[in-house]
Amino acid sequence: MTQDSPVEVPDEPAGHPLRGAVRTLGRAQVRDILLLCVADGLVGASFGAITVAAGMPWWYPTLLSVVVFAGAGQFLVVGVLAAGGSPVAAAAAAILVNARHIPFGFAVRDAVGSGLLRRLVGTHVMIDESVAWALAQPTPARRRAAFWLCGSLLFVFWNVGVGLGALGGSALTDTSALGLDAAFPAVLLALVMPSLRQRRTRRAALVGAGVAVASTPLLPAGLPVLLALAGLAARGRAAAGPGPAGTAADDGAPGGSS
């Protein structure tokens, strides 16, 4: 077990946000992050290969992944274009999918930190994995370390993977034999699991997941995941407001009102 001692890092360590991140997180967490990076790098390679195989220039997958840096949106752009969709439709679909980053930004803004450079860079490495990794951490110092280490290492591995895939060609178009398509959901699930142990959050997440699954066959990609936010209504009444700000906020909430 790592020791989250009272030695919380003084509020803003002056140096680079990555300095000390390895020490803060401990070797096991860093190893886990590296494993995730390798898996994502392989998926990135398949993205590069698929994009080129669809007839787009070799530099395009790399441009997309450096500028957008969000896997689902990237696959969507290429998928829509390759299927003969219009550029406007491709962009609109990807923008819709990426709208989930708005609440992400609020949820991890403390981990991004302050200062212009840190803000500019930290904003760009805010992705599903780095957000989930930060949310799984118990202390602010660990949140910051996890967010930055995961985000920046993934930026490197993902883009190197995409570039190699674009050049390496068809050997990599299919990662399904490796089961990597099962690894991505499993990774995210493992990371949100600590949050799901709180009852109010879990109820919202389960209702939201149901909404997303039910609507996926019917709606354009990206929309079902956003509709999952409707699950927030199932959290029940919070300890907010003037009411009894009583006991642990993650209790069962008063019986169902619906």
């Binding site: 886990d32 599903d128 099962a182 995210l188 699930l189 997440a205 699954v213 936010l229």
Partner: protein
């Protein structure tokens, strides 16, 4: 064949919009005092969105069912994660289960 300028335009438009989405929280958070309830709402929103991503990515390829091999692989990973298995075990078991099932011919 799509014109290169068009391709670049799509990448820049999506990249700019995504960056703006990502920047909203840190930017507003510095300028406004965000109430505790809203902070909690946003944290829960992130968990809800990530969970929805998990479920959609487990069951679907586009609009169609992804096939049982992926679902079973993720389920194995989910059980391990719930029982607090190590992250490495969760990832390797999920991918490995799916890979073996496919090797055996399951879609």
């Amino acid at each position: 064949m799509i014109a290169h300028g068009t391709l670049i335009g799509v990448a820049v438009a999506v990249g700019a919009a995504t960056y703006a989405f990502r920047a909203a929280g840190p930017w507003l958070g510095e300028r406004l005092r965000i109430p505790e309830a809203v902070e909690q709402l946003m944290a829960d929103s992130a968990v809800v969105l990530l969970t929805a991503l998990v479920v959609v990515a487990t069951f679907f390829d586009g609009h169609a069912f992804a096939g049982p091999s992926r679902v079973i692989g993720v389920a194995v990973g989910a059980v391990l994660a719930w029982r607090r298995a190590s992250f490495v075990l969760v990832v390797v078991a999920a991918a490995g289960t799916t890979a073996v099932l496919r090797l055996l011919g399951m879609p």
